[in-house]
Amino acid sequence: MNILLVLIPISFIFLLLAIGIFIWAIRSNQFENLDSAALDILATDNDVDGKVKKTDAD
């Protein structure tokens, strides 16, 4: 049962980490627009640097 003495503190570290990430997500407005993110996957590819590629279909 001594393994609990290691595992429980580890679980607390993970918990605090998760809470920290959640707080960061809220602070940086990640939950402001929940609708249009779902559309991103349907859009044409973007470049890695975030700039939108020109579509040259015509």
Binding site: S11, I19, F22, I26, T55
Partner: protein, 803 residues
């Protein structure tokens, strides 16, 4: 919302030649043609074609596939946006961001956002602009949050970008209000997130205790797990559960027990009971029940908050119409002054695309205004010199000048806003009643739980606390208390969507019960706009005769003036209005008369309007007040639902009978004074009918006031003054039918909700009292019950769309 993404996009393209590719409006006249992706597309205006070009060039053409709703029509007008860069505007509405650079934050309300693709488009379009570091768009609330550097990208330039796409930007009512709302939402999210994460951890520890079924765990390990549960559940109870604890304190202070009291006392009992058991090393702890209860309650509350938020944003559209800066002429110079410094008598200059800041009379010759925010009518309304212009309408086409007559709180718009806000705050009789029931319910539950506790104390003392707690938790006053407000909130939002403002929930309840409708004629069944039909001329030159008639009517306030809309250059002098006879005036030194046959042309009165010089007739016109297009269908729909339809009018017998016959109304009464109308209504009520009165709200206020339900047809913001339970904005009579559908559906949903809440409690409480359900499971049951009620109420939002 965005489920069937490609469907509508495809539909738009199939009949692309008759409707605009961008905004989907039918194309009148010559379409603007433009090559998009090698395919020729048609647009309703150059604004829309420019918007499409811009979207295409920015590589955002996917928008057309992603959208589920049409885009707003892009504007062709070039609009002066320099007010956005005004130091006052920036200081009042934006604030310095917490970044080290000189960027600022602003929240802007955007009109014209319909679906997630709009939010996507705006997000992409703005974030590619230089100087913009953060964009977040919320399509549900219509809010845009922007972080930008004024030096690199002036705000006006960013707003211009929005306008190019067809969206209209407005400053929000107050930045503090907006910020506090965002803060409130973030805090609620944080509470839920924390509760969820920590509750998982607590349950993990609690699970270890549950799995020890044969009591093999050493006392030390068991106590360690209990203390761990105590540590993790503490922040959940006291941070996440704070809204309930605070609610309980309020309820105790006001000596009115409610939902929060029951919720908070269950949480605290579970928490402190467990703590006590941990201290004395008792048999059971219920930390997991406490945290789960907090989590589930918060989720239910968040859903309710979202419902309320959407309803709130609907009414907030009105507030958008209030601009912050206005251009005024003082002396010969033009100043840009904050709206709260406007004074009555100021000369206001309204440029195309700007909101009118105050009520006033038009000084310019003529101008057109978009009153869509007030009436829902998309077509701009043309006004002549001296006409009244409402604050909140938007200037279109040309700039104009107004003389301010009412400012600030006195404007019709402000008064309407005030009434809507008041109505939202005010609790209606039925909601009050439901809350009262919930209060007794809470008392009853507390009593039952105490009895259960003492019963088990005698039979199995070790389980007494746990079972009493489970009874407290499983009972669900929330479903009872939520049944009405949730249904009303979504019904109100459904009504707002079809342009019906309901000022109290009681009206909604009555509407479902109404079995007799009384309509006023003029302005209700008819358009209230008199038009000419069947012109007869007795002289050679028809146009000259018509021009004379127009000139005579032009400067009169005669109600018949609207029958002569044609423009004429003729000027009538010495115009006199002779009551019950007609109008007399001089044109080119010759006297003309228009009015009754005996007055104007020396003939026998036949009900037509005659033009002449007093002896000889020149022309005669038949006047007609057009019946609304949807009047017949509406009446048929009402009669189909076994509702009596009456028309009561002050007008002449023949006209009323003709209209009643035309649209199929059996009971038509003519030549009625307001008192007689009221007596008629009272007779119907005495016969046991629930009567709704539909009028234009101006001259039948007396009758409206004594009806069980009063509905006013409202064109323009004058609706603010009218005393009606419900107002139908715009000109559609069939909205009565739609509103009735919503009202009936609301009643059905309330009944379902109440039945469910009673059934659930009737089964849940005895079963729990018998000791068959663990407190944690009880919490789940309770929350599922209130979720069901909330979700059931949300179904109302789509009722209007289906009818």
């Amino acid at each position: 919302m965005n489920a069937i993404v490609n469907n509508i996009g495809g539909m738009i393209q199939t009949n692309a030649n008759s409707v605009c590719f961008h905004c989907g409006q039918p194309i009148n006249g010559n379409p603007v043609q433009e090559k998009i992706h090698g395919k020729l597309q048609h647009f309703c205006c150059t604004g829309c074609s420019a918007a499409t070009q811009w979207i295409n060039d920015a590589g955002l053409a996917d928008y057309y596939h992603l959208r589920t709703q049409q885009a707003p029509q892009a504007s062709t007008e070039s609009i002066d946006l320099s007010a956005w860069d005004h130091a006052d505007t920036l200081a009042q509405h934006s604030r310095a961001s917490d970044q080290s650079d000189d960027s600022r934050d602003i929240i802007i309300s955007v009109q014209g956002m319909h679906c997630a693709a709009c939010a996507w488009l705006i997000d992409r379009a703005l974030s590619t602009q230089k100087g913009v570091s953060e964009v977040s768009v919320n399509a549900v609330t219509g809010r845009l949050h922007l972080r930008w550097q004024q030096a690199q990208a002036p705000l006006s330039q960013l707003i211009a970008c929005l306008q190019r796409l067809g969206y209209r930007a407005f400053l929000t009512r107050g930045s503090e209000l907006e910020q506090s709302r965002t803060r409130e939402k973030k805090q609620l999210l944080l509470r839920i997130g924390l509760a969820a994460l920590v509750a998982m951890q607590t349950m993990m520890f609690a699970e270890a205790l549950y799995l020890d079924t044969s009591n093999e765990m050493s006392m030390g390990t068991r106590d360690m797990f209990r203390w761990l549960c105590f540590v993790t559940s503490t922040p959940v109870v006291f941070y996440s559960g704070m809204p309930f604890l605070r609610g309980m304190l309020n309820e105790i202070r006001q000596k009115a027990l409610g939902m929060d009291f029951l919720a908070a006392s269950s949480i605290l009992l579970a928490y402190f009971g467990s703590f006590y058991q941990t201290l004395i090393g008792g048999q059971h702890v219920w930390y997991d029940a406490a945290v789960m209860f907090v989590l589930f309650l918060l989720v239910a509350r968040f859903l309710e908050y979202r419902t309320r938020q959407v309803a709130y944003e609907q009414s907030d559209a009105l507030a958008r119409a209030q601009p912050y800066l206005a251009n005024v002429f003082r002396g010969e110079k033009q100043f840009s002054v904050p709206v709260n410094q406007l004074e009555v008598g100021d000369c206001l200059c309204v440029n195309p695309g700007e909101s009118v800041a105050a009520d006033g009379f038009l000084v310019s010759e003529s101008a057109s205004f978009d009153e869509s925010l007030l009436t829902g009518e998309a077509q701009p309304v043309t006004k002549q010199r001296g006409d009244f212009v409402f604050a909140g309408s938007i200037g279109s086409l040309q700039s104009s000048r107004l003389q301010v007559s009412q400012v600030g709180r006195d404007t019709q718009l402000s008064q309407l806003l005030y009434r809507v806000e008041l109505a939202q705050l005010k609790k209606s009789g039925v909601t009050h009643y439901a809350e009262k029931i919930a209060r007794y319910f809470v008392l009853g539950i507390l009593l039952i739980a105490t009895m259960v506790f003492f019963y088990w104390q005698y039979t199995d003392a070790s389980r007494a606390f746990e079972i009493a707690l489970a009874v407290l938790v499983v009972s669900c006053p929330c479903a009872l208390a939520l049944a009405l407000p949730a249904a009303f909130a979504s019904a109100q939002s459904a009504l707002a969507k079809i342009g019906v403002l309901s000022f109290n929930n009681d009206g909604l309840v009555t509407l479902a019960k109404v079995d007799a409708f009384i309509f006023d004629k003029t302005g209700t069944l008819t358009q209230g706009k008199i038009t000419r039909s069947e012109d007869r001329y007795y002289v050679e030159d028809h146009n000259a005769a018509l021009a004379i008639a127009c000139a005579l009517e032009k400067n009169s306030l005669h109600p018949l003036a609207s029958a002569f809309p044609e423009h004429t250059s003729l000027q009538a002098n010495n115009v006199q209005l002779i009551p019950t006879q007609g109008i007399q005036g001089e044109i080119d030194q010759k006297r003309y008369r228009i009015g009754r046959a005996d007055f104007a042309a020396g003939q026998i009165d036949d009900g037509r309007l005659w033009l002449g010089d007093g002896e000889r007739a020149m022309a005669s016109f038949s006047l007609k007040d057009n019946v609304r297009d949807d009047a017949k269908d509406t009446v048929a729909g009402l009669r189909h639902a076994d509702i009596q339809v009456h028309v009561v009018s002050g007008d002449a017998e023949s006209k009323v009978a003709a209209i009643a016959g035309d649209i199929g109304i059996e009971h038509a009464i003519a030549r009625q004074s307001p008192e007689q109308k009221q007596a008629y209504l009272k007779r119907l009520q005495a016969d046991g009918h629930t009567v709704a009165m539909v009028g234009d709200g101006i001259n039948d206020a007396l009758v409206l006031a004594s009806a069980d339900l009063s509905i006013a047809m409202g064109g323009g913001a004058a609706i603010a003054q009218r005393s009606a339970d419900m107002i139908i904005c715009g000109e559609k009579l069939e909205r009565i039918l739609q509103a009735r559908n919503i009202a009936i559906k609301t009643q059905a949903i309330i009944k379902q909700n109440l039945r469910w809440a009673l059934l659930y409690n009737a089964i849940g409480i005895p079963v729990t009292a018998m000791g068959l359900i663990h407190p944690g499971l009880a919490a789940l049951g309770m929350v599922c019950s209130s979720l069901l009620v909330s979700l059931n109420a949300l179904r109302l939002k789509n009722v209007a769309a289906r009818t």
